[in-house]
Amino acid sequence: MAQRLALQRLLSLPTRGLLAPHGRAFGTSAGRRNTFNVQDGSDFQDRVVNSPKPIVVDFHAQWCGPCKILGPRLEKLVAKLEGKVLMAKVDIDDHTDLAIEYEVSAVPTVLAMKNGDVVDKFVGVKDEDQLEAFLKKLIGA
């Protein structure tokens, strides 16, 4: 965990030249570092509540069909924004207490959070245009 966090900080420095030879790999690793799975309550506190950047939280479940459509769609759009917004994924069966705390009833539920506060939210699947607008509003506001 500590190594991964260190790597994230390294990658977010403006020394992109370090990974320039692996152009395509950089693209995918950017996607990977901008999206992560929440491990537990304190991980949520550290990386979501205390996130320096605006962050969307995708509450999903293994048994939820629509989640399997929304998740990748949202992830793709977050990756396109190249670090301006991060994305945390929470499996509600693994982290029931967290889901209950944030009043998740149906899934997928996506929260937009800034400085630890929930500033926006939607439930269910959205298309790319709607998601782009949602993300832009989070970054812009």
Binding site: W63, G65, I100, S105
Partner: protein, 488 residues
């Protein structure tokens, strides 16, 4: 008060959850304990109890899967171009059903939260009449005290432990609905409605299925005639039956198949065959073993092990109640558990005095051709009133949809039991046919209201339906006339 909660419910199933949520509506402090001990094969599940996880819900969905298979076969006659034979993939059905069940587990969790009911995923046992201690899966102990406690832990399938290999190699309904891979050639053993329903849908999705029965089918439904019609239909549908047989041992073969040895009581012979799966459906046992009821003095029936309750669901210990499958003499049905739980909460906290009415509870066996009923069986009516005092009206009918599809309707049958004298009150209604459950529901209201045969004769049928055959009942068993309905 000095206790943590006004109400503690042990068991988060149909009855337990309904009782807890109702009590919370009155502004009471309520907690629910739920814990699923894995089956001998290792299957476990989430919040919601038997109905949601290993009963009604997955059963009805798999029944529907089988019915759709039949519909695909019928479809050709109605002009659809579907290449035969159609194939079924267990894992696709199982994934969908299991995902739906998991969404229900979550839904129940959210509901408890919304109604402000505290939930503990712990296995509880009594320390004293107001104290329950429980262990989490991780082994951490929690102690909960309450003014009132409701036991609603339900039951689990029994194993015929006297049959060698039964426990090691057999599964039960607890496991069947959670299988990731097809059960293959299956032997659901003994005859209770669970066995017939499971055998029915397994046959319907194309699996080689055999039911072994020691005695009569649907014992407890008191319905010799209806039971034999149901099993007759299943036989013509493709389910194999080994009647008057009982297993003596189960062994595992080198290729992982299971070899069953059984005795045929009629022929006096011993036979064997091999199967992929053996499923036991030999009855359910109340889940009381770990409750430590002896410590608090809650009395149970010595034969069944179920908790003895009075008309108000009270046990032998003040402030301890019991509802649902765990109680002696009650139907093992979700709607009765839910209703009993709600009424109990209303009596405890809502100044109500209304007791649960267990009379004329409608029910349905979801075999490929369904059997729905409400009220007394013919046998029970004869016993209660005497054969001379009852009239049995009956008819063999053919659902319109079966005609074009060239389906056999030999077992489609309806029977109504009435009092012969005075207003000729309807005592019981029994129907075998498609969607029997949907049909019987409405008539249950009529019987609740004391409907009579003359009133039925004045009720106009909806045409063309199967349900209208009930309104057209005119031929009595007593007359000996042919009860086959002719077309319109």
């Amino acid at each position: 008060g000095k206790n943590d909660y006004d109400l503690l419910v042990i068991g988060g199933g149909s009855g337990g959850l309904a009782c807890a949520k109702e009590a919370a509506q009155f502004g009471r402090k309520v907690a629910v304990l739920d814990y699923v001990e894995p089956s001998p094969q290792g299957t476990a599940w989430g919040l919601g109890g038997t109905c949601v996880n290993v009963g009604c819900i997955p059963k009805k969905l798999m029944h529907q899967a089988a019915l759709l298979g039949s519909a695909l076969k019928d479809a050709q006659h109605y002009g659809w171009n579907i290449s035969q034979p159609v194939h079924h993939t267990w894992s696709v059905m199982a994934d969908s059903v299991q995902n739906y069940v998991k969404s229900l587990n979550w839904g129940h969790r959210v509901q408890l939260q919304e109604k402000k009911v505290k939930y503990f995923n712990i296995k509880g046992s009594f320390s004293d009449p107001h104290t329950v201690r429980g262990l989490t899966k991780a082994g951490k102990e929690t102690v909960v005290t309450a003014d009132n406690i409701v036991i609603a832990t339900g039951g689990r399938p029994k194993y015929p432990t006297h049959v060698a290999g039964a426990l090691e190699y057999g599964i039960t309904s607890d496991d069947l609905f959670w299988l990731k891979e097809s059960p293959g050639k299956t032997l659901p053993s003994f005859i209770l409605y669970v066995s017939l329903e499971c055998a029915g849908f397994l046959t319907g999705i194309g699996l080689d299925t055999t039911v072994m029965m020691r005695s009569i089918p649907l014992r407890g439904f008191d319905q010799a005639q209806m039971a034999s019609l149901v099993t007759e239909h299943m036989e013509s549908y493709g389910t194999k039956f080994l009647k008057r047989c009982f297993p003596t041992k189960v062994e595992k073969l080198k290729n992982n198949r299971l070899q069953v040895t059984w005795k045929n009581a009629d022929l006096g012979t011993e036979e064997t065959d091999s199967f992929n799966t053996i499923m036991w459906a030999v009855g359910r046992a109340p889940d009381t073993k770990t409750l430590n009821l002896e410590a608090v003095g809650v009395k149970t029936n010595s034969e069944t092990g179920k908790i003895i309750v009075d008309a108000s669901e009270a046990t032998s210990v003040p402030h301890i109640y019991a509802i649902g499958d765990i109680t002696e003499g009650r139907p093992e049905l979700t709607p009765t558990a839910i209703a009993a739980g709600k009424l109990l909460a209303q009596r405890l906290f809502g100044q109500s005095a209304e007791l649960m009415d267990y009379d004329n509870v409608p029910t349905t066996v979801f075999t490929p051709l369904e059997y729905g009923c409400v009220g007394l069986s013919e046998e029970a009516a004869v016993q209660r009133h005497g054969a001379d005092n009852i009239e049995v009206y009956h008819a063999y009918y053919k659902p319109l949809e079966f005609t074009v599809a060239e389906r056999d309707a030999t077992q489609c049958y309806v029977k109504m039991v009435c009092l012969r004298r005075r207003e000729q009150r309807i005592l019981g209604l029994h129907l075998i046919g498609p969607n029997a459950g949907e049909v019987i529901q409405g008539f249950a209201l009529g019987i609740k209201c004391g409907a009579t045969y003359p009133q039925l004769m004045k009720t106009v049928g909806i045409h063309p339906t199967c349900a209208e055959e009930v309104t057209k009942l005119r031929i009595t068993k007593r007359s000996g006339l042919d009860a086959t309905v002719t077309g319109c």
